[in-house]
Symmetry: C2
Subunit: 314 residues, 2 copies
């Protein structure tokens, strides 16, 4: 089996490559990324360093590689950054996906594509929508969310109109060792590690009342492989824990892990123009369809993230 | 009042400019278009010939012009072409709008923007959805429709997140003298004119059973001016006739007008990969909000289109 993974050298890519190599040691893994692999990255079969906005380069790689499976991880996935740079966010989500998809249509139409989406697509959530199912309405609230909805819609159109084989996800917040500190849990865990070392005296956060559904990245990539193997083309699946936690609860759990009593301060820079109060998903569809369910307790996941930052030198 | 109109030199732009000049002779009209004005186009205050994908040029024009009102007519609005060139269609709908919007945010945030959308956004329509209201679900079925949904979502996000003043439409099929023959009614009317002159012996069409809601372009631009004056920011309004007609019925009406009995032939090239069976809208929202309603009978509109092609030299 030949896998092509876009955005391969990022946080999720590393876990995905490791999972593929464990499950299928003979698999070929073709990486696409904007930057070369970091030193610690597992060896892959081939790597193409390119910008997915460059259609000619994408076309060239897909027509030469003809992957059996393509996992489109590449994304500028920060909601906060999408408010600061909406055009950059949009093109580096929707347009890169459209480029990839159109090259698959032209040059490798039997490739099975996994289109990674986001729980942010649900956007404005009312009490009666919770927990979110795949049939819940999408009312995107950020430039990032709009881009992800458009990506999913493009996937549907390519399945119906051109007969491509695409399975889509709406992946909820994930966490894990190695995640960038631009994401909320990683940012907070990093500050706890600094606090425990005496490198700072308080934790700065955005809105702590928001409730999110967090999943360990190892469970996320297990879901991706299960969907590639057994997901139904044209369908979209929530990938979530099914349980909501507020940022305040996460902070309390990290305080226990770090054995500190932090001073918490609101950083207005981290408060977003528009924010969903509660985002919690229902994973019945994927569990029924392919047997996947979360396996890693959030306490374990949080401890791993904290340990990562405790070991990190900064 | 200073108006900036993108895609100004197209079919709708001409009618919009005429309507503004009739209603408000002192208005300044700033045109943006990819190509210079055709010879027959009414005089405008200033014209900027540029590609809206060129962000630096868009930024320059919007920061210098500071329009009171911006009507974003620019669009590659052919559904058929969006299947042939999905990337070109998407960028020339969503990305051009995002460029315009982000320049308004940065350089002219009090400009009132009219974002033109399409009935194609509704996509897959079931019997129970009809007639389509603004609350009906959007299930886009073509690359063009996906791009229009993304455009509308971006508008909503810019209203909520950045406080811009944007009113959106979902404009149903329009028709009128001067419309390109890549659109169905214009294409058929042109063939009838050719038939009446003995320049062809049959009418070639796509799927004639599809039912659409057609509106005269003069009613369309009247709705645009009413919404600019009195529409509510952040809201979207159907602009439609409220009455559905099949392509077969349109053909029968044109046969009466042209006084011919045509041979009808299906052209497989004109049949789309995925097609909505019925698209009929409900204009209660705009009628209630701003008092607009259709005034021109479809028979009159069709006769004008037929007369246009009868007079045309080709």
């Amino acid at each position: 089996m030949r896998y092509l993974i876009t955005g391969c050298f990022g946080f999720v890519g590393k876990y995905l490559v490791e999972a593929i190599q464990r499950a299928e040691p003979a698999a070929e893994i073709i990486a696409i990324d904007r930057a070369p692999a970091p030193a610690s990255f597992p060896a892959v079969t081939r790597a193409h360093v390119l910008d997915l906005l460059d259609l000619a380069l994408v076309s060239d790689v897909i027509s030469r590689e003809h992957p059996n499976r393509l996992v489109h991880l590449a994304s500028l996935s920060s909601v906060g950054r999408s408010w600061q740079e909406p055009i950059t966010s949009f093109t580096n989500n929707t347009n890169i996906f459209l480029n990839v998809l159109d090259c698959v249509r032209k040059h490798s139409p039997t490739t099975r594509v996994l289109s990674i989406g986001s729980s942010e697509q649900y956007g404005l959530v009312t009490e009666s929508d919770l927990p979110l199912r795949e049939t819940s309405p999408q009312r995107p609230l950020s430039p990032y969310a709009v881009a992800r909805v458009a990506q999913e819609h493009l996937g549907e159109v390519y399945v119906r109109g051109y007969g491509l084989d695409i399975v889509a996800t709406r992946s909820f917040n994930h966490l894990g060792a190695g995640q960038s500190s631009q994401f909320v849990i990683s940012a907070i865990a990093k500050q706890f590690a600094e606090l425990a070392r005496g490198q700072r005296d308080r934790i700065r956060v955005g809105t702590t009342s928001v409730i999110r559904d967090f999943l360990d990245v190892r469970d996320v990539v297990a879901a991706y492989l299960a969907l590639l193997a057994r997901g139904t083309t044209g369908e979209v699946y929530n990938i979530c824990n099914g349980r909501g936690l507020s940022i305040a609860e996460i902070i309390a759990m990290l305080a226990d892990i770090a054995k500190v009593t932090p001073v918490i301060e609101t950083d207005p820079e981290l408060v977003r123009p528009v924010e969903n109060a509660v985002v919690v998903g229902d994973h019945t569809k994927i569990t029924t369809a392919v047997g996947w369910q979360p396996t890693i307790a959030l306490e374990t996941a949080l401890r791993d993230v904290y340990d990562f930052w405790s070991r990190a030198s900064f």
